[in-house]
């Protein structure tokens, strides 16, 4: 029996409501209301931050029309769109599969080593974003001061420094932003999956071992099926997170390490439209609303594919 909303209003469920009320208030104030405001702004000609002048005017869907026009005609917007798809697709795969791989791998080795190894993987996430971005800025720098370039030149693989973020279009900048984000993102899945695996009863593993199962078989036949929730959670979370993240990429684009067109994702593009160059907040809001809708659709599809409905339905006792 699925819990229905009206159950909340029966006296029995009042306690749950009180528990979630503070968080609900915060979400309404700091998410729902701003989203509502953004939606409103997308229907106004707001630019140059001139709230007084433009916020009162409603111009209908003109910003959306402009954005779709740019999507069709502006090479930059098209490339940003393409970059977003490639970036999310590949980074998501890396984050989920990489996290899974790390969690499984560290399960089968000694405790001390695996703890140290996992901590190492957490370092990118713990580092302040600016510091982290600076490290990779110098690593991939296009001149001979770049670490990668100087190393490759030292071992004689290349003669001249290569501008990774600009010369190898589009896979140069794509690889850089995927790599930089992937390194950070993997640790999230790794932690969740490690925790999941540690909660699986050891007896199952022991029994499997007794039956002669290999590590691979234990991973694929026991662990992964039992981690369905966690895989769903990490995938959905990472997907939506990648759709909206831009902090790590922002600095790399800002400092000119990667080509602007192929290093900018949709969320960063919205930031650029709103805060720099165009300073056209109405247009940025429209692009943002579209992003939210796309995010919602993608999240829903992910949940459907990974069987969310099935998972939350209580099993029927009569089958």
């Amino acid at each position: 029996m699925k819990y229905k909303l009206k159950d909340f209003f029966k006296k029995k469920k009042y306690e749950s409501l009180i528990f979630i009320l503070p968080a609900l208030i915060l979400i309404i104030l700091f998410y729902i209301l701003p989203v509502a405001l953004s939606v409103y702004i997308s229907f106004t000609p707001l630019k140059n931050w001139n709230l007084d002048k433009y916020l009162g005017t409603v111009i209908g869907t003109r910003n959306y029309e402009r954005f779709f026009y740019m999507l069709q005609h502006d090479p930059i917007t098209r490339n940003v769109f393409l970059t977003t798809i490639v970036f999310i697709g590949i980074t998501l795969a890396i984050n989920v599969l990489g996290g899974l791989l790390l969690a499984l791998a560290t399960y089968f080795v000694s405790e001390k080593f695996s703890t140290a190894f996992r901590t190492l993987w957490l370092l990118p996430r713990m580092a302040p974003i600016a510091v982290y971005s600076l490290v990779w800025y110098y690593f991939f720098h296009g001149s001979n001061i770049g670490t990668l370039n100087s190393f490759l030149m030292y071992i004689g693989l290349i003669k001249e420094p290569i501008s990774w973020g600009h010369d190898i279009i589009p896979w140069g900048p794509w690889s850089i932003i995927i790599f930089v984000n992937g390194l950070v993102g993997v640790s999230f899945g790794m932690i969740v999956f490690t925790s999941a695996i540690s909660n699986i009863p050891k007896e199952l593993v022991i029994a499997a071992r007794v039956d002669g199962a290999s590590n691979w078989q234990i991973s694929t036949r026991i662990f992964i099926p039992l981690m369905k929730w966690h895989i769903l959670y990490v995938t959905t979370w990472q997907l939506l997170s990648l759709l909206t993240t831009y902090a790590h990429i922002f600095l790399l684009v800002q400092w000119g390490l990667v080509s602007k067109q192929y290093g900018t994702t949709w969320s960063l593009y919205i930031y650029q439209i709103a805060f720099t160059g165009r300073t056209d907040q109405g247009l940025a809001a429209a692009a943002g609303v579209i992003l939210v809708i796309v995010g919602g659709i993608l999240g829903y599809i992910t949940l459907r594919i990974l069987g969310f409905e099935k998972m939350i339905t209580k099993p029927r006792g009569d089958i």
Binding site: E15, I18, F19, L21, P22, I25, L26, L29, N48, W49, N50, L51, D52, K53, R66, Y69, M70, H73, D74, P75, I76, T77, G142, S143, S163, H166, D167, I169, G256, K260, F275, T276, G277, R278, T279
Partner: protein
């Protein structure tokens, strides 16, 4: 019984949590602007504005007295500016003006004092963007020194004061500004700023590299001036310098944006960026094609770095130039003293970083106008006047702003008038090698005696400002530098100004991308021109304000 007790415990916890959240939110929302003081009832109403007469001392004393009568004893303004490290007068000029006004007030028994908060940044574009985003929330500075190109945007949005009526009283000051420069402070016939400085953009040639490559610099400046020496010759010289091993690069230029330095190419090829009849921006296909072709060709032949737009000023562009690793640098007059005050140069004997001496700068660098693109065209230079604008909310942080708004604005204007004092502008011009904006400043700069007094800091400046500029003065005030400024002032006769149009910065941004693409050979010049047109057309609002003229020339070759 037990169950209702458990329930009430949860209820209490929940209510407490909700109250905490509400309190936190309320505290956050209550960070309102400073509350107004209740106006004290006075027998006769104190004046809330003053009629300006054009006599500075009278006006400023009247404003001071009016403020005092309203119970104001301290007025705080803030000033933001950006630029090269020697251009600190962009903020200190306001500080000095405030100090001079404070002195006038104390001499006239007016018990009010002005306090100035300053902020000085390197890049002018991000500072403008910050001012733009903060002005509506009242967090932007009261004064801003930035490029004149932003006046149209700021004026259109109502973010800066229209000072036409105030300025009309100060006609003597207005007449002393150079007319072309004063045009830059106007938008739609109204005045929104006072000029702060201007400059020219010479082509710097390394004398040692030229000598090594067998290139004769004698009379070059004149040859450029009468159009004999064009960018075709630049190519050949650059090639010779590189092939003879005398320099790593033939030409280097600025990074990060096409405006202002690279826009010179358009004018050098006889093109234009603006149609004064329609008020629209112009994409001159032929001129832009030729410009992009020059950059593309030079990059393909290794004369200009492919990643030029990515270079860093402090660690790459300037060190390359001061170490003579390039024959030519498309620079600005202010670099002449920047090379002296910043440590871009590694001393060959000690290995320590230091600034060049004025003698070394003179020994190393020859300078000319920006050459004509091809024969039949004219040499050019580009000026980007910097201006001081006043926030339309200037003085808002001070008490009784609602009633005394007019007074605060008048005072802000008077501060600008004082900051335009000839000696302040002259000091700025010399220490940062910009060009003066008014004739009285040019006269001071030509006065050897005055320049000597500046060198010894024996001028009538407040101690606060003296302390902050003493190092720069020591490094930059000397006859070699003033001679340089005198020598480049002829360039103002050939100067262009980039268009005054709110969408010009956006067009300039697109041009920058095109340059980057041709340098990296991601597009050839013709494709890049098409890219510019496509990108402009992709934004209906921008497309409506841009005209496309001309055709890509067929059969045109370079060099």
């Amino acid at each position: 019984m037990r169950r209702s007790k458990a329930l009430s415990k949860y209820v209490v916890i929940g209510i407490v949590a909700i109250l905490i959240v509400i309190a936190a939110v309320a505290a956050f929302l209550m960070q309102a602007p400073p509350t107004e003081e209740k106006p004290t009832a006075s027998p006769t109403p104190a004046p809330t504005k003053v009629e300006l007469t054009g006599n500075f001392e009278t006006d400023v004393v009247e404003v001071g007295k009016a403020l005092e009568a309203n119970g104001i004893s301290e007025v705080t303004y803030s000033v933001w500016a950006a630029g090269d490290p020697n251009s600190v007068i962009r903020v200190l000029g306001i500080v000095e003006a405030a100090n001079r006004i404070n002195k006038i007030w104390s001499d006239n028994n007016v018990n009010v004092e002005i306090n100035i908060e300053t902020r000085f940044e390197r890049e002018f574009m991000p500072l403008f963007e910050e001012f733009l985003s903060k002005q509506p929330t009242g967090q932007a500075s009261d004064f801003l020194a930035n490029s004149y190109i932003y006046i149209s945007t700021l004026a259109e949005e109502g973010y800066i004061l229209d000072i036409t009526d105030y300025v009309s009283k100060y006609s003597e000051l207005v007449n002393d500004f150079y007319p072309t420069i004063f045009e830059a402070v106007k938008w739609k016939g109204r005045i929104y700023a006072l000029p702060q400085d201007t400059e020219a953009r010479p082509l710097y040639f390394r004398k040692d590299v030229a000598a090594c490559a067998g290139l004769d610099l004698t009379g070059l400046a004149d040859k450029v001036r009468n159009g004999e020496f064009t960018w075709s010759d630049v190519y050949n010289w650059a090639k010779q310098a590189k092939e003879s091993g005398c320099a790593e690069w033939g030409v280097i230029h600025r990074k990060g944006s096409a405006h202002p330095d690279l826009i010179q190419f358009i004018y050098a090829f006889g093109g234009r960026l603006y149609n004064p009849d329609t008020g629209k921006l112009v994409i001159d296909k032929e001129a832009i094609y030729k410009w992009l072709y020059v950059e593309w060709k030079m990059a393909r032949d290794g004369l200009i770095p492919e990643n030029m737009m990515e270079w860093d000023w402090g660690t790459q562009i300037h060190p390359t130039t001061v170490h003579g690793k390039t024959l030519i640098f498309i620079g600005g007059t202010w670099h002449w003293t920047e090379w002296q005050t910043r440590s871009y140069y590694t001393d060959p004997t000690t290995g320590e970083p230091r600034g060049l001496t004025a003698e070394e700068v003179k020994e190393f660098f020859y300078y000319t106008l920006f050459p004509a693109g091809e024969s039949g065209k004219d040499p050019v230079t580009l000026s980007q006047p910097f201006v001081w604008v006043i926030n339309s909310r200037a003085g808002e942080r001070n008490p009784k702003y609602d009633t005394l708004k007019e007074l605060y604005h008048e005072l802000a204007f008077l501060i600008l008038v004082k900051a335009s004092d000839p000696d302040i502008n002259a000091i700025h011009s010399i220490i940062s090698s910009h060009l003066p904006v008014r004739k009285a400043s040019a006269q001071l700069m030509a006065d050897e005696d005055w320049v000597n007094r500046l060198k010894n800091l024996e001028l009538d400046l407040s101690d606060e400002v003296k302390d902050q500029i003493s190092e720069i003065v020591a490094a930059t005030v000397n006859p070699i530098n003033t001679e340089f400024l005198a020598n480049v002032s002829y360039m103002l006769d050939y100067t262009h100004i980039a268009p005054i149009h709110p969408l010009y910065p956006k067009l300039a941004d697109i041009l920058k991308d095109a340059v980057d693409m041709v340098l990296r050979n991601q597009k050839d010049p013709a494709a890049a021109v098409q890219y510019i047109i496509d990108t402009v057309n992709a934004d209906p609002d921008l497309a409506a304000e841009v005209e496309v003229i001309g055709e890509i020339p067929s059969g045109w070759s370079y060099p």
